[in-house]
Amino acid sequence: MEALFSLVVGVLTASGIYLLLRGRTFPVIVGLALLGYAVNLFLFSTGGLHTHAAAVIGESISPADPLPQALVLTAIVIGFAMTAFVVILAIRARSELGSDHVDGQQGEAGDAK
C-alpha cells in the first residue's frame, strides 16, 4: 500500500512539474494545482496511513495523527486562495500584455526562450 501511495504522489508531482514548465499560463495553473495535491498527500502521509482511525476522541481506539491533518486542511484552503489569485493574475496579464505566455511574449519568441 505504501508503495502504491508513493507512486501516486510521484506521478502527481511529475505531471505537475511538467505542466509547471509549460510556457502558457493555463497549464502552469493546472500544474500548480496538481503539485498542490501531491504536496498535500505527502504532508498528510507523514502522519502514517491508518484505516478507521479518525482523530475524533471516542470514535476509534488508536486515532491517527491529527497534526498533519490540521496542517493539510489549512493548506487546502490557502492553496485555493493562492490558485484563485494566480488565475486572476493570469487573466489580468493576458488583458495587459495581449498574450497568455508566462513571460508576456506572443508566439515563437516567447516559446523559444
Binding site: T25, P27, S45, I57, T74, I91, K113
Partner: protein
C-alpha cells in the same frame, strides 16, 4: 566625560557649517573653527598628565554582548595624533575657507571635513578594538565623500571609488584580524590586548592575524603594492589632500602599526614584513615622485615614500627607531601639509598644476615661494629643518639593525638611495616652480605667459605657520617636540623608551656623512634630469590604478555575464533552475539513506486502493498530456481532485475529505470561468528538445519524491500527536482533535491563514479593476455559446438548494468542535450554494435580492477572530487562550460552548466572504463586457 566631549564636539561641529553657510564664507569658516579649537583645548588639558606617562580613560558600555564599549583613551600616541588632527585640521579648515570658489558649497565641504575629523579623532582615541574599527571605516566613507567632492568630474568620481574600494577592502581584513585578536585575548579592550602581546604571538593564528591587520594598515597608508589609490585621490580639492593625504588619514595605517606594536610587534615576521614593505614603498614612490609632472602627484608620491620610511622605522623596531618613527610622523605632517597648501595656492592663482608649464614664480609670489622653500627643504632633509633630524635618526638606526640577517647591510645603502631621490625631487619642485624658466610646448608658448601673485593673507598664514614650525622644531627640538615624542614613544613601547636627546648637531659621524652624500648625489641626479627621463621612458610604467580599474571592469563583466545567464527574463528558465536545485538536494538526502525500505512492515493492497490509484494516475498524466485541450485537461484535473478527497476518506481524515470536496467544487468553477477569458487552444511552438528536457526534469523529480515518500512511510516517525489527543478534551473542550488544533492549539496559525485568504480576495478587486478583456462569444470551432444564459431548471434547483445548504452549513459548523466539520468546511458550503445562485440567475438578479458586501463579510470575520483572541487579554491570559463551559439553553438543553467556537465563526465568515469575493468578482466581469468571437 571630558574625553567623550572631544569627538562629540567635532561631531556637533559638523552641523555648524550647514547652518552658518548662509551668513557668508568668512562667518561660516570662523564658526566651524570653534568646535575643533575647543576640542583641541580639551586635549591640551590632559597634556601635563599624559607627558608624565599617565593614560586618561573614559568608558561607557554600549553593546556588551558584542564586546563593543564606547571606550576612549588619551595617551602619548593619541596626544600626538590629536594635535595633528585638531591642530593642523583647524589650520586647513581656515585655509579651505579661502581656497573654495565663491560659488562652491562650503557648508557641505566643511561639514564633510568635520565628519572626517570626528572619525579620525575616534581612531586616535579608541580604547576598544571594535570601536577603533568603526571609526576606521568612517574615515573610509568620509574620505570617499571628500575625494569625490567635485562629483561632476569623472576623475574625482574614479579616485573616490578607488580609494573606497582599496581602503574598504583593507577595513574588512582589519575587522577579521581584530576579531581574531579579540578571540585570542578574550577581550576587545585595548589595554588588555596591548598587555597580551605574548599570548597573541604564541597563538596559532598569529601569522593570520598579522597578515589581516597589516593588510588593513598597508592599504590605508598606501604602502606598496596598494599605493596606487593615493595619486588618484589627488582629484580631491587641495585642502582635502593637505588634511587627509598628508597629516591624517594615510597616517591611520601607520598609527595602527604603532598602536599594535606592543601586541603584535617584536617578532621576526613583523620586522621583516614591515621593513621590506617600507623599503620597497620608500624607493618606488621616491622614483615616481621624481618623474611626475603634476604638482599634487609629486606630493602624493612623496607622501607614499615618507610613509614607507615610517613603516620601515617601525619595522626596525629598536627603541630609538620607534622614537624616530613617531618623530617623523609629526615632522612629515607639518611640512607636507604646508607643501600641499602652497601647491593649492599655486593651482588657485595660476590655474595649472603642471610643473613644466610653471616656472620663475619667485618674483611674482615671494611669500608662497618662501613657504614652499622652507617646507621643501624640510622634505629634502636639509639642516636645520625637522626633516633632517628624523632622517639622521633613520640613518643611524639603519646602520645598527639586523632584521634582514646578513642582508641588513643593504638597508643603509637603500635608505641612502631613497634619501638621494628625496633630495632630488624636493629640489626639483622648488627649482622648477620658482627659479627655472617654464618648459613650454609650442602651443603653450603662443598663449600669454602666466601671471600670478601672492594670495590673501588668510590663505598664506596657515601654510607659513607650518613651514615656520618645521624650521623651529629643527632648531629647538628639545623644547618643541621632545616631550610629545617622548610621551608618544612611551605609549608605543612602554618602559623601554630611551631617554631621548633630540638635537641638531651630533658631531661628525657616519649619519652626517650619509646625509651629505645624499644631498650631493641628489643635486647630481637633478642635473641629469633629462637623461633620467630617457631612462624612465625605457620602462613604460604600468599604472597600478589602471590594472585595478581593469580588474574591477572584468569582475563587473563576469557578474553581468552570469546574471544574464541566470536571469534572462524567462520564468521557465528560473523554474527549471530552481527545480534542478531541489532535485539535487533531495537526491543528496536520499543518497545518504542506508536503504530505501525502512523497518516498518507494509500494509496489504486491496482492490479499491488500486482503483483509486489508477484513477489518479490516469487523471494526472491525462491532464498533463492534454494541456492544450484545456477543458479536457481541467476535467482530468477534477478526477484527481475528487479521488484525493476519497483518499482522505479512506485514510481516516474526514475533515480533510470534506474540505477537499468543497474546495474542489469552488476551484472548478473558478477554472472554468478563467478558461473563458484565456485562449482556449494555444499554438504549439515548442521544440522537441525543450519537451524532452522538461520531461526528464519532471520524471526525475517525481521519482525522487516518490522514493522519499516511500522511505518516509516505511519508517517510524516521532510524533507529538499524543499531546493533542490527550489535551483536546480537557484543554480545548472538543473531541474533534483536528478542529481543536485549528481553532485552539494552533489558533494563531489559523488566524494567519484566514488573513491570507481575505487578502487574496481583496487583491482580486484591484486586479480586475478596469480590465480590458478578451471574451469569446463561442468555442474555438466557432460554435456560439447557448443563448439561454440562465436555464430555468438550474434556477429552480438552485433556489431550492440554497436554504438546504445553509441548514447543512449551520449543522456542520455547530458540530465541528466534536465531530468532523468546522468553520472552514461550513464556510465553503454556503459559498457553493450562493455561487450556484449567481450562475443560475445572473449577477444582477442575485445582487438585487442579496445586497451583501462580501469584503465586509470577510473582514468582519477576521475582526471577530482577532477580537476573540484579544478577549483573553481581559482575563489576563495570552492572546487566543480559549475558554469553554456548559450552558443550559431552553428547548435545546445543555450545550457546551467554547470561546473557540466564536473564533471558528470568524473563520467561517472569512471563508464565505473571501471565496465569494473572488468568484463573484470574476463572474461579474462577464456581465459587463460584450463578447466577441475569438480569432482562430
Amino acid at each position: 566625560m571630558a574625553l567623550l566631549w572631544i569627538p562629540l564636539l567635532t561631531l556637533l561641529g559638523a552641523l555648524v557649517p550647514v547652518f552658518t553657510s548662509r551668513y557668508g564664507r568668512r562667518a561660516c569658516t570662523l564658526a566651524t573653527l570653534i568646535a575643533p579649537l575647543l576640542a583641541l583645548g580639551l586635549v591640551l588639558l590632559h597634556g601635563p598628565a599624559v607627558m608624565d606617562g599617565e593614560i586618561a580613560r573614559f568608558s561607557l558600555t554600549w553593546m556588551p554582548l558584542l564586546g563593543l564599549d564606547l571606550a576612549l583613551r588619551i595617551d602619548g600616541l593619541t596626544m600626538l595624533f590629536a594635535l595633528l588632527i585638531l591642530g593642523i585640521g583647524s589650520l586647513i579648515l581656515y585655509y579651505a575657507g579661502h581656497y573654495l570658489g565663491a560659488d562652491e558649497d562650503d557648508g557641505r565641504f566643511l561639514s564633510y571635513m568635520m565628519l572626517f575629523m570626528t572619525a579620525m579623532i575616534g581612531i586616535a582615541m579608541a580604547d576598544n578594538l571594535l570601536l577603533l574599527w568603526l571609526f576606521w571605516e568612517l574615515t573610509s566613507i568620509t574620505s570617499f565623500l571628500l575625494i569625490g567632492f567635485w562629483g561632476h568630474r569623472s576623475d574625482a568620481r574614479r579616485g573616490a571609488r578607488m580609494a573606497l574600494a582599496v581602503t574598504g577592502a583593507g577595513g574588512l581584513a582589519l575587522l577579521a584580524g581584530l576579531l581574531l585578536i579579540g578571540q585570542t585575548v578574550g577581550s576587545f579592550d585595548m589595554s588588555e590586548v596591548l598587555a597580551a602581546g605574548d599570548l597573541i604571538r604564541a597563538s596559532d593564528h598569529y601569522s593570520l592575524i598579522l597578515a589581516l591587520v597589516l593588510f588593513g594598515a598597508f592599504t590605508k597608508s598606501a604602502q606598496f603594492p596598494f599605493h596606487f589609490w593615493l595619486p588618484h585621490a589627488m582629484a580631491a580639492p587641495t585642502p582635502v589632500s593637505a588634511f587627509l593625504h598628508s597629516a591624517t588619514m594615510v597616517k591611520a595605517g601607520v598609527f595602527l602599526m604603532a598602536r599594535f606594536t606592543p601586541a603584535l610587534g617584536d617578532s621576526q615576521l613583523w620586522a621583516v614584513s614591515l621593513s621590506l614593505v617600507g623599503l620597497a614603498t620608500m624607493l618606488y614612490a621616491a622614483w615616481f615622485a621624481l618623474l611626475e609632472r603634476d604638482l599634487k602627484g609629486i606630493l602624493a608620491f612623496s607622501t607614499i615614500s615618507h610613509l614607507g620610511l615610517i613603516t620601515l622605522l617601525l619595522g626596525l623596531g629598536s627603541p630609538l627607531a620607534i622614537v624616530a618613527a613617531v618623530f617623523h610622523i609629526l615632522n612629515h605632517a607639518t611640512f607636507k601639509a604646508a607643501l600641499f597648501m602652497s601647491v593649492g595656492i599655486i593651482d588657485h592663482e595660476t590655474g595649472t598644476r603642471d610643473i613644466d608649464r610653471l616656472g620663475a614664480l619667485w618674483s611674482m609670489m615671494p611669500l608662497t615661494g618662501t613657504m614652499t622653500i622652507l617646507a621643501g627643504a624640510a622634505m629634502a632633509g636639509f639642516p636645520p629643518f625637522n626633516g633632517f633630524l628624523s632622517k639622521e635618526m633613520l640613518f643611524e638606526q639603519s646602520l645598527v639593525n639586523d632584521v634582514l640577517g646578513a642582508l641588513s647591510a643593504l638597508i643603509p645603502l637603500l635608505v641612502m638611495l631613497a634619501a638621494t631621490l628625496s633630495v632630488a625631487y624636493s629640489l626639483r619642485l622648488i627649482w622648477s616652480l620658482f627659479f627655472a624658466a617654464p618648459k613650454l610646448t609650442r602651443e603653450q608658448k603662443a598663449q600669454p605667459p602666466l601671471k600670478a601673485h601672492d594670495p590673501v593673507r588668510g590663505m598664506l598664514a596657515p601654510g607659513l605657520f607650518l613651514a615656520a614650525m618645521s624650521l623651529a622644531v629643527g632648531l629647538f627640538p628639545m623644547i618643541l617636540a621632545a616631550p610629545l615624542v617622548n610621551a608618544a614613544s612611551l605609549a608605543v613601547q612602554g618602559d623601554t623608551t630611551p631617554l631621548i636627546a633630540l638635537s641638531l648637531w651630533h658631531g661628525l659621524n657616519l649619519p652626517l656623512a650619509m646625509s651629505l652624500i645624499a644631498v650631493a648625489a641628489g643635486i647630481l641626479v637633478l642635473r641629469q634630469q633629462k637623461r633620467l627621463a630617457e631612462i624612465a621612458a625605457l620602462f613604460p610604467a604600468r599604472d597600478a590604478g589602471r590594472i585595478f580599474e581593469a580588474a574591477v571592469l572584468r569582475v563587473v563583466k563576469a557578474a553581468l555575464w552570469l546574471t544574464q545567464r541566470l536571469e534572462n527574463g524567462s520564468l521557465q528558465r528560473y523554474q527549471a533552475l530552481l527545480l534542478l536545485c531541489a532535485l539535487a538536494m533531495v537526491a543528496v538526502g536520499l543518497a545518504n539513506l542506508d536503504a530505501l525500505t525502512g523497518p516498518l512492515g507494509l500494509q496489504p493492497v486491496d482492490g479499491m486502493l488500486v482503483l483509486g490509484a489508477a484513477l489518479m494516475v490516469f487523471g494526472a498524466i491525462g491532464s498533463a498530456l492534454s494541456h492544450r485541450w484545456r477543458l479536457v485537461s481541467l476535467l482530468m484535473l477534477s478526477v484527481v481532485g475528487l479521488t484525493v478527497s476519497l483518499t482522505f476518506v479512506r485514510f481516516s481524515a474526514p475533515d480533510l475529505a470534506l474540505t477537499q470536496l468543497s474546495v474542489e467544487v469552488v476551484s472548478m468553477i473558478l477554472f472554468i470561468l478563467a478558461l473563458f477569458f484565456l485562449p482556449q487552444r494555444p499554438p504549439l511552438l515548442v521544440s522537441s528538445k525543450r519537451i524532452l528536457r522538461d520531461l526528464l526534469l519532471a520524471v526525475s523529480l517525481g521519482l525522487v519524491v516518490a522514493m522519499l515518500n516511500y522511505a518516509l512511510l516505511t519508517r517510524e516517525t516521532i510524533s507529538i500527536a499524543d499531546y493533542f489527543l490527550r489535551e483536546a478534551l480537557p484543554g480545548g473542550g472538543g473531541t474533534n482533535v483536528v478542529n481543536v488544533i485549528l481553532v485552539d492549539f494552533r489558533g494563531f496559525d489559523t488566524l494567519g491563514e484566514i488573513t491570507v485568504l481575505t487578502l487574496a480576495g481583496l487583491a482580486t478587486f484591484k486586479l480586475l479593476n478596469r480590465m480590458k478583456l478578451f471574451m469569446p462569444a463561442g468555442n474555438v470551432e466557432g460554435v456560439r455559446w447557448s443563448r439561454h444564459r440562465h436555464p430555468m431548471i438550474l434556477a429552480v434547483v438552485a433556489q431550492i438548494l440554497l436554504p438546504l445548504a445553509l441548514l447543512v452549513s449551520v449543522y456542520i459548523f455547530l458540530r465541528g468542535h466534536n465531530q468532523p466539520g468546522g468553520g472552514f468546511i461550513a464556510g465553503l458550503i454556503p459559498a457553493v450554494a450562493l455561487i450556484l445562485q449567481y450562475m443560475a440567475r445572473g449577477y444582477d438578479w442575485t445582487r438585487e435580492r442579496l445586497p451583501v458586501s462580501y469584503p465586509v463579510v470577510a473582514v468582519s470575520g477576521l475582526a471577530i477572530a482577532v477580537a476573540t483572541g484579544m478577549a483573553s487579554w481581559l482575563f489576563g491570559y495570552p492572546f487566543l487562550t480559549s475558554a469553554f463551559g456548559h450552558f443550559y439553553i431552553p428547548l435545546i438543553g445543555e450545550i457546551e460552548l467554547a470561546s473557540a467556537m466564536l473564533f471558528d465563526l470568524g473563520v467561517y465568515l472569512a471563508v464565505v466572504g473571501a471565496t465569494l469575493m473572488i468568484l463573484i468578482n470574476l463572474g461579474r466581469v462577464t456581465t459587463i463586457h460584450r463578447p466577441t468571437l475569438e480569432e482562430r
